[in-house]
């Protein structure tokens, strides 16, 4: 087992730089999830850790070793690929044992280890089958078996669940997490799915356009998003962001459709009149009775019924806003709703840079 450390890592393809200097420290035994939209460089980063992609600048270290110039097989890492990358002409047994056979381990040991791994994954009965005779979930397990059997220092997962249907995906999510709890090996999991990211990570790394936007536990990232980008990416439905202005020397905020609201801990006097983005999560907004004091008023566009709760899509001026509520209200599209939120659940971001302003209490 080992920690993984990236220092000022950069990657260029030709003259285009796709990763602009990344520092990440992943502790021994941690389950780190790198999340970001497609094209943000997260897979490239993972492939650099795996050794499938050369590092242009900076340092990748696993344990105490700098591995920049080591071959993948010398790094003691195993990878689960998005499309599984199973060898089509080999049976599940042969697929799982390939690395051991290359390493010329004794036959008995190979058999014993394959059996142990397949027991963990519940694929004992499938070992004689070829990948084409397996379902998506079974292939996924075989691919995991191929990684586990090598007992590597670090597991790398490259969007391994994106080819599964929704039900299987949530099931595999739990299984991978449970497996990690058993094996306790450092794992790095790349995904574009924020649900996977939130549920699986010990440490969350949010990437955007080749840089790390924020790292932290899922809770930290959810409670105190570092930028409008992270705020919009983590959490579903996404955080509502409305343009607003600071007033009262930065002690309160107001905007079009937004009532003047005092912030729990005020900002400095120079901040009066500063343009900001006011963020509030759909689940932190509540519909209150007409006439009572609220944060803002919005026009209901339509309501989505999810069964356990409802999503109210509303308009505030030209901006759209979503309210996630469990209340049964009889509102019709076109009605004006009065919405309230605990000021502690308000987030402020700089309107220009999108960075978080440490004004509103979030933690």
């Amino acid at each position: 087992m080992a920690n993984v450390s990236l220092q000022r890592v950069r990657k260029s393809f030709g003259t285009t730089e796709v990763i602009h200097g990344i520092d990440i420290e992943i502790g021994d035994g941690e389950f780190a999830v790198i999340v970001g939209p497609s094209g943000c460089g997260k897979s490239t980063l993972l492939r650099m850790i795996a050794g499938l992609e050369a590092v242009t600048a900076g340092e990748v270290a696993i344990g105490d070793r700098v591995v920049n110039d080591l071959e993948p097989k010398e790094r003691d890492v195993a990878m689960v690929f998005q499309n599984y990358g199973l060898y089509p002409h080999m049976t599940a047994f042969q697929n799982i044992s390939y690395a051991l056979r290359i390493a010329r381990r004794p036959k008995a040991e190979i058999r014993e280890r394959v059996e142990r791994v397949s027991r963990i994954l519940g694929i004992e009965d499938l070992l004689a089958r070829k990948p084409s005779q397996l379902s998506g979930g079974q292939r996924q397990r075989v691919a995991m078996g191929r990684a586990i059997i090598r007992e590597p220092d670090v597991f790398l997962f490259d969007e391994p669940l994106s080819n599964l249907d929704a039900k299987l995906r949530s099931q595999m999510r739990v299984e991978i997490k449970r497996l990690h709890d058993d094996l306790k090996a450092t794992s790095i999991f790349v995904t574009h799915d924020q649900v996977e990211a939130m549920t699986m990570a010990d440490r969350l790394v949010v990437m955007n356009q080749g840089v790390v936007e924020q790292t932290g536990t899922p809770r930290q990232v959810y409670r105190r998003p570092g930028s409008t980008y992270v705020a919009g990416f983590i959490g579903a439905p996404a955080m509502n962001l409305l343009p607003a202005t600071l007033c009262d020397d930065g002690a309160a905020v107001e905007g079009r459709g937004i009532a003047r609201t005092a912030l729990p801990n005020g900002a400095g006097p120079d901040r009066s009149g500063r343009r900001v983005m006011l963020g509030v999560r759909p689940e932190h907004l509540a519909v209150v009775a007409d006439g009572s004091e609220g944060l803002l008023s919005a026009r209901l566009l339509y309501a989505e019924d999810l069964g356990a709760s409802r999503l109210l899509h509303c308009a505030v001026g030209d901006d759209e806003l979503i309210v996630h509520t469990q209340d049964e209200t009889g509102d019709r599209p076109g009605d004006t709703l009065r919405l309230a939120a605990d000021p502690a659940n308000l987030h402020l971001f700089d309107a220009d840079s999108g960075r978080r302003l440490e004004v509103a209490g979030g933690g």
Binding site: A50, G51, L52, E71, P72, K73, V77, A78, M79, F81, Q82, N83, Y84, G85, L86, Y87, P88, H89, Y98, A99, I102, A103, S132, R146, R150
Partner: protein
């Protein structure tokens, strides 16, 4: 697409039928001639009803054409070309697809361009090289003054020579390179997901292991398809064996047929010549029939 077009169907079938007749009529004549006794085959016009002397004619053709020796030569040459081509082409395509070296695309296009230079076009230089397969190396050494260097250092004159005339190497080696086969392999390798190569890398497989344990097993159908084409190609070689062999016991079957064709001062025994022709045609037909399922599958590039 399912359409009802009775008229079009009729037209297509007519065209097909005519084509079939045009293709098969000469074969039918050859077959009929091969079954007739000498007296019947020189009748004008020749009858189109098969006779009963096929085996006798075949036996005489076998004897007269020295098919026993030539058959061995043909088989060795054909299989040699086949294995040489598959080995060369798969390795070349592997290099072009999986290794990122300088001038990679240039190398590929150079190979591709040789499609425009079939053996017939470059037969004279090829013959010269076959006369001494080490000639290019010798010339290279001379250009680099290495021959002089060795002569000066060791007092030995360097004269490399490897004569391919009248050898199996001569029959096969110059035909090893094949742009078509390389291209076919390349196109197939491009369809293999990159993840497979990466997974193999992670599992600790080196390039050669990846090639032999993963790429080649996956190319089975492809190789089968190629083998069919290359078998027919190799078997039918005529010009090159004619040029490179002078000894009678290095001749191939296709060349041997020439012996069976009656010349002016002989009896015009076309029945024997045709029986010989039929026998020579047989192996490629058998190969195509046996492997046609693989052939189609390989060219269409489907696993199932």
């Amino acid at each position: 697409m399912i359409e009802r077009t009775p008229i079009l169907n009729a037209v297509t079938h007519t065209v097909l039928g005519v084509g079939l007749l045009v293709m098969c009529f000469p074969l039918a004549i050859a077959f009929v001639a091969a079954t007739l006794p000498y007296e019947a085959v020189i009748d004008v016009p020749m009858t189109l009803i098969p006779g009963s002397e096929l085996l006798e004619n075949a036996a005489r053709a076998w004897e007269r054409g020295e098919f026993a020796t030539q058959g061995v030569n043909s088989v060795v040459m054909t299989l040699g070309i086949l294995f040489g081509k598959v080995a060369c082409a798969s390795l070349t395509a592997f290099a072009v697809c999986y290794f990122n070296f300088r001038f990679r695309m240039l190398a590929f296009w150079l190979i591709f361009i040789t499609l425009m230079l079939p053996l017939e076009v470059r037969i004279v230089p090829t013959y010269e090289v076959a006369g001494n397969a080490l000639l290019p190396l010798q010339q290279l050494l001379e250009v680099l003054w290495l021959t002089d260097l060795v002569a000066w250092l060791a007092g030995v004159e360097v004269a490399l020579e490897w004569n391919l005339l009248d050898t199996y190497w001569g029959l096969t080696l110059p035909l090893f390179a094949s742009a078509t086969a390389t291209f076919l392999f390349r196109q197939f390798f491009l369809t293999i997901p990159e993840e497979l190569a990466e997974a193999a890398k992670m599992d600790g497989a080196g390039p050669l292991r990846f090639f032999f344990q993963i790429l080649l097993p996956l190319s089975k159908t492809n190789i089968a398809a190629l083998s069919v084409i290359m078998f027919v190609f190799g078997w039918n070689q005529y010009l090159w064996p004619l040029l490179i062999t002078t000894e009678p016991d290095m001749r191939t079957l296709v060349m041997g047929l020439e012996n069976l064709i009656p010349s002016e001062d002989e009896l015009p025994e076309w029945n024997v010549a045709m029986a010989g022709t039929l026998m020579v045609m047989l192996p490629p037909i058998v190969v195509v029939l046996v492997l046609q399922r693989w052939f189609v599958r390989g060219l269409l590039g489907g696993e199932k």
